[in-house]
């Protein structure tokens, strides 16, 4: 039974989150607390690598909206990378590509900080 996990890897001053599985209203609190932890620790340079994410609903998208303001006000950013077609489509439908930097590869996203 596949649920949701999120791993974190710090690469110098950038933190990379790896959400895996299904990000919906049920699992969103887990992802929210991973982001909260970064923000609380003043780690505002964030990359979210979606390579292992199978599914996202609007509840998952809402999390990015909830944090991006504070992160950018502190000189950081949330950059996205490795979105599968299925996941990208959902971001795209809601106009996220105009609001977030989206990269194919994690290395590109890291470089942009």
């Amino acid at each position: 039974m596949k649920g949701f996990q999120v791993k974190r890897l710090d690469k110098n001053d950038v933190s990379v989150l790896y959400p895996a599985g299904f990000l919906d209203a049920h699992t969103v609190p887990q992802f929210e607390s991973a982001l909260s932890e970064l923000v609380e620790n003043g780690r505002y340079k964030i990359v979210v690598n979606f390579k292992d994410l199978d599914y996202i609903s609007s509840a998952g998208l809402g999390v990015f909206m909830g944090f991006i303001e504070e992160v950018r006000n502190n000189g950081g950013d949330i950059k996205l990378c490795n979105l599968s077609d299925r996941v990208y489509k959902v971001f795209d439908l809601l106009g996220f590509p105009a609001l977030f930097e989206i990269y194919n590869q994690e290395a590109e996203a890291l470089e942009k900080f």
């Binding site: 209203a25 609007s58 909830g66 504070e70 489509k89 959902v90």
Partner: protein
Amino acid sequence: MRKNKKNKKQRFKLQIAASTDNLQTIRDFIQRLAGEAHFDSEQIDQIALAVDEACTNAIKHAYQYDASKKIDIEIWLDSDKMEIVVTDYGPGFDPEKLPEPDINHSMKNAKVGGLGIHLMKKVMDEVRFEIRPGQKNAVHLIKFKKPEKEQ
């Protein structure tokens, strides 16, 4: 042996506790039915997403996460379309008075709302609300099949 389902209307009904715990079960069930009905994989994803959004709204807005409450999911399948009706028995709302989601604006409020219904409308061919406060509130989600190529 799989009988040809053309012109045959099938009805499925699922009653399930209003818990986010059940969202994955609901999506799986819907995906399976849509797959059996030969929707293509993009359409299957879209249908499952819309149903997830409708159920999430029932859980969150109709019932405030009270898992003792029930959601009814009715599925009608016929040769050219799938219709899913998600019903809750909460207070209801006025679907005419939803603000258009403004992502840029909500960014300033560091808060976002209205994405769910917006997304349902984007991914489905028809979204219709049937609100009868005190009785039941239903979202009808309709998806038409693409003309079949094989099978």
